[in-house]
Symmetry: C2
Subunit: 395 residues, 2 copies
């Protein structure tokens, strides 16, 4: 039997990173390639107690639930966000199956074929996959260490009339960058001036290393219903729960809920109720501080080893939070080709090229430091340093 | 701010049933309107033990997981289906966030705007919602008590060249009908002859009342990769887990997994691992027998009261399984209009009209018997009988 698929299948890509991970996971390789949180930090006791309460407190929690999400969880999230200056009603929140689903549902209700979305370059790969599956056109805006370059942004807004600007402004994947307050404000000004919606993807905002917090979320600065903001419990509790949320103008959230109803009725509500109990009974902020301390230490170990590389032209951004180093190699080194050598030496990373919308810089790589112990980071980085230094000789 | 939504939003409908339920849930009303399983039957102890094991056995279970689903769950499902004559490899299975997501992902990878889908009439409302959101055209095939009328089906296949035939052949929602073996075989023959894919939606197949089982699933008769089959744990364990699965040709399952990756990465894996433990440690078949016995008793109580209605022209189908009575009133009675009277009298149902693809019969209603105790069914049906008998006088 030959099957006739839909046209949109042509625009669906498998994740290049996932394909690389499959190869890497087969061998005995120290991997800096994935984007996984550290498993030993999972608050197993608290999660166990929370699920026990969720399952045994009230049979209603095991029944079909509301598409918008469990009311008590939305109230708890509104309260948590309020403390961070993002003041919205529970009615402005939709609970999703991870923040990935927030990106998908938003795209579903907003984008027509050919619509233009502006993004940073490089940016979060799996968002690009979603956007492309809706046959949109993604256009990169020039960025520097402080965020999008405003002049280029305004030029592209006026010329291309985008439907949306997608940003990961805080400890971004893949670059680890943080947008300055000034750029956040200027982005909002332009969005307001030209009536463009901003999608702020913030999975890493809680993973802050500096004593000094990152600037406030763009959503918290928004007074005109311009910003959709999404985050997740995948990095602060456990990924397997698949609980994210999106907050935004009620008009958009309501339509997204309607789309979600047809998509999967509602998000797993045992996990939602478990989170309600967890947020009540467990000091999640103390737990997040433990995660921050652990990741900061690992980042430092990786930095120390990166600093030993004897390779002129190698640069990296020291992350102020999040999960990744973004490394730029000398221009003549192709990080995709070099991966073979690295894997042979027993260490893996993700080449930077797939994260680019256009003009991919082949001499970039993303290194994850959250999912390996300091000892393993040291061992893996020693291997990687050798591979990098050898690469210089081969050029 | 005025937001520009996508074209497809125009084709998204809120569920008429959900809108009715919102009104009903506000008052002190005995409701036969929903489609909920009985909460007091939820196997709370077993679910609690299963989640405890899922959370505490291995931290890997709390990490990001595979898009296709937890391997042990797919293996357990393959084994369960094998016992029912549906012999497929775990690789032919995709775990979904309830079987609703299976319908959505299938639609996403198969349907282009204008594609034709043949269905029974009436049929499952939320499937129609999904199909319409992809701008397809749904066309009803004539049905009788044994399933689709084969002559009409063949005429419509040859004339309309449909992409898919969607059926709920076992204890269907809304009619409670069961397709005969002969019709199942003839449907397959036609699908094979004309190369049309069949989507078999089977959420209720386990809820059998007769000693005699329903005929085998259409998928189990398929030797040519024609059938996609979906089912769920929502009716046999608990709905809040949102775990369904779809089994079919590997070529389609693989593309659906790719679509799922962009949609939500993977299904909640704590619930998936919990189900693996539950299927090992708990006698789910004994539990399903308890559900069957309870629902059978409730169905009998409702039938007994239906038989007391003094209203010429009232007909119903006695369900051999599932969750619903489908009642046809005398032609001159409009069940949508009558609902107001019923709600005033303290009882609710769902009018049948929204379940029709076309030629809606306004004199039909769906009654759920699974979510009310026998005493409440008696009380509610006594109210409904009065409303029905009074309706005769008003015509």
């Amino acid at each position: 039997m030959k099957y006739g698929f839909s046209e949109r299948v042509k625009f669906m890509k498998s994740s290049a990173v996932r394909d690389i991970l499959k190869v890497i996971n087969q061998g005995n390789i120290i991997s800096f390639a994935g984007g996984l949180p550290e498993e030993s930090l999972f608050p197993v006791k608290a999660v166990d107690a929370a699920f026990h309460k969720a399952v045994t407190t009230n049979n209603k929690a095991l029944q079909y639930g509301e598409t918008e999400g469990v009311a008590a969880l939305r109230a708890a999230l509104a309260e948590r966000m309020r403390k961070k200056g993002l003041i919205r009603d529970p009615d402005n929140i939709l609970i999703t199956s991870g923040s990935q689903q927030a990106i998908d549902l938003f795209s579903r209700v907003m984008f027509n074929k050919g619509d233009i979305i502006l993004t940073e370059n490089p940016t979060y790969l799996a968002a690009l996959q979603v956007f492309e599956s809706y046959e949109t056109r993604v256009v990169a805006v020039d960025s520097d260490d402080d965020g999008m370059v405003i002049a280029d942004l305004e030029e592209k807004i006026t010329r291309l009339k985008p439907k949306c600007i997608y940003v990961v402004p805080t400890y971004s994947n893949p670059t680890g960058k943080v947008w300055s307050l000034d750029r956040r404000e200027k982005l909002l000004e332009l969005a307001n001036k030209y009536h463009v919606v901003i999608f702020e993807d913030d999975p890493y905002g809680e993973l802050q290393f500096d004593k000094e917090a990152a600037p406030p979320s763009i959503a918290s600065l928004d007074e005109n219903g311009l910003v959709l903001y999404t985050s997740t419990f995948s990095k602060t509790v456990v990924p397997a729960m698949r609980i994210g949320w999106i907050v935004g103008p009620h008009q958009i959230i309501r339509i997204m809920a309607q789309a979600k109803q047809a998509t999967d009725l509602h998000t797993n509500s045992i996990s939602q109720h478990a989170l309600v109990h967890l947020l009540r009974d467990f000091d999640i902020d103390e737990h997040i501080q433990t995660i921050r301390d652990t990741y900061y230490e690992r980042m430092q170990v990786m930095k120390e080893l990166l600093d030993t590389v004897n390779l002129e032209g190698l640069e990296y951004i020291e992350p102020k939070g999040g999960m990744f180093f973004w490394v730029t190699l000398p221009e003549e080194i192709n990080a995709t080709k070099l991966l073979d050598e690295a894997v042979k030496a027993g260490v893996a990373y993700v080449p930077g090229a797939p994260f680019y919308v256009s003009d991919a810089e082949q001499n970039t790589m993303r290194l994850n430091f959250t999912n390996s112990s300091p000892a393993l980071i040291r061992e893996g980085m020693e291997k990687l340093v050798k591979v990098l230094e050898k690469s210089r000789l081969q050029v």
